[in-house]
Amino acid sequence: MIVIQGKGVSKGVANGPIYFFQRSSTTITDAPAADIEAEKARIAAAQEKSAQQLNALADKAREEAGDETAILFETHAMFVEDDDYVECMMNALEEKHCTAEKAVELAGEEFSAMLAAMDDAYMQARAADIKDVTRRILNNLMGVTEGGIDSDVPVILAADDLAPSETLQLDKSKILGFITQGGSGNSHTAILARTMGIPAICGLGEALKAEFSGRQVYIDGETGQVAIEPDEITLAAFQSKQAKQQEMKELMETMKGQKDVTLDGREMMVYCNIGSPEDVTAVQSNDGQGIGLFRSEFLYLAASDYPTEEEQFQAYKDVAAAMGGKRVVIRTLDIGADKQVDYFEMHKEENPALGVRAIRICLNRPEVFRTQLRALYRASAYGKVAIMFPMITSVWEVKECKRACQKVMAELDKEGVPYRKDTEIGIMIETPASVLVAEELAKEVDFFSVGTNDLTQYTLACDRQANDLGKFFDPHHPAVLRALKMATDAAHKAGIWIGICGELGADLSLLETFLAIGIDELSVSPTSVLPLRAEIRKSIAKTCTLEKLEC
């Protein structure tokens, strides 16, 4: 057994024979060219062919791997036609009287070196794109086709590093996983492998040797472990993980497109929690029926100054539009407590969890609030946005929030900016106070969503950040579950819906309790959607009991 440790960049376990990627060896001569004009024409032809291939690849990628990858190839096509890049080749021909191949190679080296020298990791990684494009033009010049896998059985593909076009041109029915010597989590190979759902491990370095070709290997894209001809114990560990993975995959497949409904016909809305617009892809691939919590903090935490209305609008609009009419609940800023932002210049608090946080900041700083509300309402024109206010304790706070909303709507009316007047407004139920006055709060809003982490913290007087509270911090405590029941009864009495967007929502051991309480919506991380759906579809709502509410 040989074990090599790399960096897992795309999850999953796979096994098969190792196959080393065959790249055409390109020997380019330094010999002078006979006819410069002929060489120029050859470059132009290869350039045109390359651009055509890349555009075709973009179309293929759009179907197989998604927009992100398609755009990459479109950008490559633009590289191929870039004036400076081409000029650089033509100059080399004129000055060095070299062959077209040499000129293309020189231009590729010059531009990839320029990007590699930039002090920006993203731009440095783009040097690989230039090399990829350059290799394509060279192959077209020399009439080389590459990337074939000469094997009858599917393989674990090994390489020094794979260019994006190389990964996409491969016959995927023959690939079980990728292992590469170089590369990083940001490399296109890693990104593509994740999109395609194939395990990948990179950064194996010299330990991955060409002589391993043909030997049986197990790879784990989560741990980054590569085991060539594993011993019995290692093999058993890999196989059990693989079996679980397979089981999960089959479950996922059967659950896609199914309704979230119990055996006796009770519907549950299964939504997703997301922290940035990029997470929408995961919501879609896991078949989430909406977004129950879109945390707006990322806009504030990642910035060095207050995010502008425009930036916020763009992010909210992107998500609303991508979800195509499905509900997107966006929570207004929830800064403070464990999430601190320098430019807010908050006073140091002894007890920030009980301090000026979330809605309290918004009500104290109407300008910050107004900017966010304007962005939210403007985005409402592009989908089904719902606005949610966190950390509510009193009815007057909700009334004040609603006044702020009305003011913003009046402004937008005046400016003639489109928005949806029927945008839902909801609140987080995460303080005992909000539970105790839930009946009155329910009359003011369109929905409730319970933040179970904070509700547990405040109900049980247990700091959620403290590690040593152990058994005292118990989200299953009957007090927390009874609070849920009280809020649910109040919501239903007023005819509004109630959901859970805290971690507890994905706790399958509580599903029966949630059904018994009458929760209408569970918002969970995208990867929890399908397991939760499977469990809902096995449940019978009317036989669920409230026994967990007993002490």
């Binding site: 590289f79 320029m114 930039m118 731009m123």
Partner: protein
């Protein structure tokens, strides 16, 4: 000549994709020269790789200028492009 100043808000700056689109947009005004300048370095907007080489990041100030018969349309198109994409 028409010009405007702009502060980049996109977290990745002028990265490959917007640079490509920007070059494409600028090329539509073939008889008018569109340039992007940062810290005294000026490149033509149609020069995709040089544009990326400028290394424009979030928070950087750039000056976008257009000169030629279609400068009015070009600068309007550029302004719209920057506001929507960068």
């Amino acid at each position: 000549m028409k010009n405007f100043e702009y502060t980049i808000t996109d977290p990745l700056g002028i990265h490959a994709r917007p640079a490509g689109l920007l070059a494409k947009t600028a090329k539509a005004y073939s008889d008018t020269t569109v340039t992007i300048a940062k810290d005294g370095n000026t490149v033509k907007a149609s020069q995709l790789m040089k544009l990326m080489g400028l290394g424009v990041k979030q928070g950087d100030h750039v000056t976008v200028a257009a000169e030629g018969p279609a400068e009015e349309e070009a600068i309007t198109a550029m302004k719209k492009f920057f506001e929507e994409n960068l």
